[in-house]
């Protein structure tokens, strides 16, 4: 769990972060979102004490962060940044092993851990482990950056605009990867981003910051359907509000329990129950149909999604 309690950071009289209180539950993904200068990165960097707050406290699974020496604290927290920051003179293997080395793990254990992480991040261990960072693509570099942050199995992961420098396709792939890793490891993640789609896609809780102040915190659904003021409505909604509402719901929530369409079943056209309504809508338009069969993970029929129901919710 990460909890900000009345945290402020003042520079020369002006507030970078102003009285922020915000909690990310154990095992959840919390997102700090805002425009540049909103104080979101400052807030994140106070968790691992790269910046110390002027007032207020930050709690991490029961203790406050200032109870530990910074160096010790940071080795227990994974840290991923936008520019990746891989060490150019070290191989991929040595980069990933940074924190285990600092913690004095035996060599064989580090080697095994590196192999396991490369596997988790879908990197070919034999192909990349002895390469240097400049020999990798941008997407591969950030995968290594994520693997490095996970190396010592920290409970908490801090990610500062981790995908901001990547092209849209690579970015989407890595977002899916993070969602998958989160599902596997149940790490508590604090993610800073200015990308609304990314926040809605990954966040369990989202905090919108503006000039250092918390404007509204809540689930993606809260922020879309119950914005606290016009700023929140404009920030999240705008012209795309309807599509974003579809983005955060899955087919399972609005499908009808009919397991056959017109007495027939076409398994090839079926969609998984976990697919977002946004993608389901896109499929309907692309295929020119108004109904889609829905199946579960194992391919067993669950129901039918109707175009008309998408707008009725």
């Amino acid at each position: 769990m990460i909890e900000f309690r009345n945290v402020s950071k003042r520079y020369d009289g002006s507030f970078a972060v102003d009285d922020l209180s915000f909690t990310v539950a154990e095992g959840a993904i919390g997102v700090l979102i805002g425009t540049s200068g909103s104080g979101k990165s400052t807030a994140l960097r106070m968790v691992n004490r790269l910046i110390d707050p002027s007032s207020g406290t930050i709690h991490l699974s029961g203790t406050t962060v200032e109870q530990l020496p910074p160096v010790k604290l940071r080795r227990r927290i994974g840290y991923v940044i936008q520019s990746v920051g891989l060490f150019p003179h070290w191989t991929v293997e040595r980069n990933i092993g940074t924190v285990p080395h600092l913690l004095g793990w035996p060599k064989a254990k580090i080697r095994d851990r590196v192999a396991q992480l490369l596997d988790l991040l879908r990197l070919d261990a034999n192909a990349v482990r002895h390469k240097y960072p400049h020999q990798l693509s941008g997407g591969q570099q950030q995968r290594v950056g994520v693997a490095r942050a996970l190396a010592a199995d920290p409970d908490v992961l801090l990610m500062d605009e981790p995908f901001g420098a990547l092209d849209p396709i690579t970015r989407t792939a890595l977002q899916d990867e993070i969602a998958f890793i989160h599902q596997q490891t149940k790490k508590t993640i604090l993610l800073v981003t200015h990308d609304i789609e990314e926040a809605l896609k990954l966040g369990d809780t989202i905090a919108l910051l503006d000039r250092g102040k918390l404007v509204q915190a809540g689930t993606p659904r809260d922020l879309l359907t119950a914005p606290a003021n016009d700023f929140v409505r404009d920030f999240f909604g705008g012209a795309n509000l309807g599509l974003r509402l579809l983005e955060i719901e899955t087919a399972a929530t609005v499908m009808r329990p009919e397991k056959r369409i017109d007495g027939e079943r076409n398994e090839a056209e079926a969609i998984p129950a976990s697919m977002s309504l946004h993608r389901a809508l896109s499929l309907m338009v692309a295929r020119g149909v108004d109904r889609l069969p829905v199946v579960d993970d194992k391919g067993a029929p669950q129901g039918t999604l109707h175009l008309a129901d998408l707008a009725k919710r």
């Binding site: 840290y79 520019s83 920051g85 150019p88």
Partner: protein, 390 residues
């Protein structure tokens, strides 16, 4: 003249250097023969060289020149490089042969020296080789190999005694013990300045990198020191050092006085600080900010960041500062002979004051050779084959 594919002359550098060398080899004396070391020599021209050496020399020079007119490609640059390396070797081999023949026919005190044409050929062809190496954009290992190919055969000729009848080697034979002592003393002076400069300079470079306030004044002062002529700096140090030695017997017992090793080592240390401090600060400044942020964020302390991240990433630039420093000190140490520090400079100045050109060369040629070798070795260290472009 425009240098494009359509132009007749495609590489004016090869043309200029090659033509100058060819003209010199044909029109200037390749050797000079004197009855003894104090009298002026009789000029001897190309025909004094054995036929084989003369033909190879002229052919190599012609090929290097001809490469100016060929399309500029890798194979042409390699041909030019080989020709440029062969010409000086053919010349030196030929002079060894000619000197041996002349020695058999004259008194033992007669001297056969390198003629003007020889120096022109050696200098122009090494410049042409440098042009080829630049065009071929060779890495450090390739450059080292070229240097070995250039000076290896000449060292072999010296070692085998093939050049013993040349004046330079005769001077060496006479001064054998003095030369060995001077060489040791030269190394002594260079190390006595290099080690303190390293110990002081690298920490100062770290300070200059970390403190923007100190960076300007520090590099300013060190830059100012560099502008003081070396003889003046030796002179400035003589008075305070002899004063100190007079008043503090302990220093005198250590052998410190106004002349000799102490002022030389101190002056060279001062000259050495600028390249070391500047390159250390520059190298550290080139470490990516993201790497530093990640290092701190993952729980490295200041010392670990410095030792594991900053210094290794900055190392090639720091090493290049050390290389500049060493090459500079090897040259400047020659001047220190004037204040009694000894070294190869003392042989050089003996020759200068006695008007004996070959004795000057006996001091200068090893200085240049050692500087070139140190330069190549440091370039090799600074570019490990495995490391990528950081």
């Amino acid at each position: 003249m425009a240098v494009s594919n359509g132009a007749f002359v495609k590489n004016p550098v090869f043309l200029t250097l090659g033509a100058v060398a060819l003209l010199a080899a044909i029109a200037l004396p390749v050797l000079s023969h004197a009855p003894n070391r104090l009298l002026g020599g009789q000029p001897l021209y190309l025909s004094a060289l054995p036929n084989g050496a003369a033909i190879v020399l002229i052919l190599a020079l012609a090929i290097a020149t001809g490469c100016a007119f060929a399309p500029q490609r890798r194979d042409i640059w390699i041909i030019a490089l080989v020709a440029a390396l062969i010409a000086p070797i053919a010349y030196v081999w030929g002079t060894g042969e000619a000197a041996t023949a002349l020695a058999a026919a004259s008194a033992p005190i007669a001297r056969t020296s390198t003629g003007t044409a020889g120096w022109v050929v050696i200098i122009t062809m090494y410049l042409a080789a440098a042009e080829s190496v630049r065009r071929l954009s060779l890495r450090a290992w390739g450059r080292a190999l070229i240097v070995i190919c250039a000076i290896g055969p000449i060292i072999a000729m010296v070692a085998s005694g093939h050049l013993d009848q040349l004046a330079l080697m005769k001077e060496y034979a006479v001064k054998h013990d003095e030369f060995a002592a001077a060489l040791r003393q030269h190394a002594h002076i260079v190390l006595a300045s290099f080690i303190p400069a390293l110990v002081i300079g690298v920490p100062l470079g770290i300070v200059a990198h970390r403190s923007a306030k100190l960076n300007g004044p520090l590099l300013g002062v060190l830059g100012l020191i560099q502008t003081i002529p070396s003889i003046a700096l030796f002179g400035i140090l003589m008075a305070p050092l002899s004063g100190l030695a007079r008043h503090i017997p302990a220093l005198r017992d250590l052998g410190i006085s106004g002349i000799g090793l102490a002022p030389a080592a101190i002056a060279l240390t001062l000259y050495s600080l600028l390249p070391i401090v500047r390159n250390t600060a520059t190298g550290l400044g080139e470490v990516p900010a993201a790497a530093l942020d990640a290092a701190a964020g993952m729980g490295m302390n200041r010392w670990q960041i410095l030792r594991q991240i900053e210094v290794p990433i900055a190392l090639p630039v720091i090493l290049s500062g050390l290389r500049i420093t060493l090459v500079q000190s090897i040259g400047l140490a020659a001047v220190a002979a004037l204040i009694g520090a000894g070294g190869l400079g003392s042989i050089m100045f003996q020759g200068l004051f006695a008007n004996a050109g070959d004795l000057i060369l006996l001091g200068v040629v090893p200085i240049v050779g050692i500087a070139v070798i140190v330069d190549v070795v440091f370039r090799l260290i600074a570019s490990p084959p495995n490391r990528g472009a950081a």
